[in-house]
Amino acid sequence: MSAVVTEDRQPFGGGGPSRLVDRVRGAHLSMLPALGALALVWLVLGVIDPAFLSAENLVNLTLQSAPVGVIALGVVMVLLVGQIDLSVGSLSGLAAAVVAVGTVNLGWPVAVSILAAIAVGVVVGLGYGLLSARLGVPSFVFTLGGLLLLAGVQMRVLGPAGSINLPFESWLVRTVQQGFLPPVVAWCLVVVVVAGSATLHLADRFRRLQADLQAPSLGSIAARTGVLAVVLVGTVAYLGTARGVGYSVVLFVWLVVVADVLLRRTRWGRSVRAVGSDRRAARLAGVAVNRTVISCFAACSGLAALGGVLAAGRLAAANQGTGGTDTYLTAIAAAVIGGTSIFGGRGGAWSALVGVLVLQSIANGLTLLDLDLATQQMVTGTVLVLAIVVDTFVRRRRET
């Protein structure tokens, strides 16, 4: 029997070059349009205005991307489980207000204020999760209500002034606004990450070969490691010619990596995609559907709150405009543009990173070109529509 098995599997296990390309393409198909879009946006903006690709501007770009990127990461989780959260913007604004009021008006330590803000987010998310899981209320509706409700609470928390400035000497502001990895630490991180990635891939290949399973070739592992090394070395070297890699950016990327591992390599992550793909089938398979949905809403709201904290740190202030309209639209659009399906079940953590870079590059570039808000919104809207068309197209092609 096992001899037959091996034979059957050989055409796939052999891993000829074309098969390998198929595998890589299959695994990252949903990311390709976004990466293509990112390259195109950078190319066009770089040609029109070389200042866009200057190290200083790219440092700005990464700093702008981190807060809304963290929010988009949360949105990825609710989208994957087949739900949506329209209130992430308001919630991030509320979290910013909580941090500001806590530290400035109430004199709490910064850490306590941050934890309080994130706790508020998690509680809101748990509430959403219960509404969705227990009562079956459509998330589109109750998070739309939440959007207004939380924006109102945000105003009430901020009080009549409507704006609170954080002191510049607060460590939150110093870390988020002016905190950059020392070059030595950055380079050590690059070495550790590249070596770690290669080691994990080789270990996986070894186990698969031992189990007589299809395994990635040494060449493909070398290629993947090479790409990772080039991207990291390039980023650290180029951004290093200006201010460098901000702490908030490192935090964002770290969260993406953690979320990626949780979503792809744990039981929880698998049930998230299962519920998003087919809720009834997941329940019949024995997945704790309600718990999965609730956890996604809680994670999303917690990350939205953290995004608000980062935004407050970056602006050194919280006001009524923090987490305004464009925040939730950008966060949701970033997740979708990055390749996470609005239909649930398909996508991943990295789509938040790529998607937010695309959108922030457009916003950053158009501001640089002195184009007005109207043009920015039209361009962003067009990109979003294109992304959803691609998403729908991929879904339909897979179904036929």
Partner: protein, 265 residues
């Protein structure tokens, strides 16, 4: 009831229903249903549309709780719902729509809810290996276990769903309309699969409205009509008799003799 006479000569049933009824609003989907299935036996359940077949599958799967009556496992009363409980008790159901998750690949579908872990993370290597072994046992021709099941053919999807049902080494496998959407060749493959399940020692409940398919593999055939057990036949009952019983064209009393004889398991 005819079933009682068959029962006398065979070992204790693995799974029995006694007087099970289920209503949906004013609709009596199942009325006072008795059913027995033993190890190494294929019990076919046939009936026209609306006879209560899918409700019966739902009760066995633990998706519906009966309004009245008793479910017994090895003679002891049990409660099957929710579905996870039924599975834990060794009753695995393959639903008519298969209940696969299209975006997940074969391995992910097979092990969903029962993943093998290595520390806190999933052990993909162990699961992939076990998946191949299981599919080979079922003589399945699935091209890759790492493709989304969306890309598989109807017969392949059926095999994946059956393989998933077999993962917990269940004692009873319930198949709800496994051939409904399949072509001739794929139907034959699935019926072969049913025979293999019996050879492996499972008790199989095969629910279908295609009476012709069942005669080939069924040891006994239970006919449901309007939610009630109309009669229980042996596997070699003629197609005409079954059809008559399903549609009510012939009354039980006028049925030809010979179809009631007991069957050795």
């Amino acid at each position: 009831m005819t079933g009682d006479r068959v029962q006398e000569k065979t070992p204790v049933p693995v799974l029995s229903l006694r007087g099970v009824s289920k209503n949906f609003g004013g609709v009596h989907a199942l009325v006072d249903v008795d059913l027995d299935v033993r190890e190494r036996e294929v019990l076919a359940v046939v009936g026209d549309n609306g006879a209560g077949k899918s409700t019966l599958a739902g009760v066995l799967a633990g998706a519906y709780r009966p309004d009245a009556g008793e479910v017994r496992l090895d003679g002891a009363p049990v409660v099957l719902d929710p579905p996870a409980t039924a599975r834990a008790l060794g009753i695995a159901t393959v639903f008519q729509d298969l209940a696969l998750m299209d975006d997940l690949d074969v391995v992910e579908n097979l092990f969903l809810g029962h993943e093998t872990r290595r520390g806190p993370l999933l052990d993909e290597v162990a699961m992939e290996r076990r998946a191949w072994a299981l599919l080979d046992q079922l003589a399945a021709t699935v091209p890759s276990v790492r493709e989304p099941v969306r890309t598989l053919s109807g017969g392949q999807r059926q095999v994946v769903a059956v393989a998933r049902a077999l993962l917990g080494s269940p004692r009873v496998v319930v198949l709800d309309e496994p051939t409904a959407s399949l072509g001739v060749r794929q139907t034959a493959e699935v019926l072969n699969l049913v025979v293999r399940l019996r050879e492996r020692g499972h008790a199989v409940v095969l629910i279908s409205h295609q009476a012709a398919d069942l005669q080939a593999v069924a040891d006994r055939i239970l006919v449901l009509r309007l939610g009630q057990v109309h009669d229980v036949f042996t596997g070699d009952t003629s197609y005409e008799d079954l059809l008559a019983a399903m549609t009510g064209a012939v009354r039980p009393g006028t049925r030809r003799g010979g179809s009631r004889k007991a069957v050795a398991p």
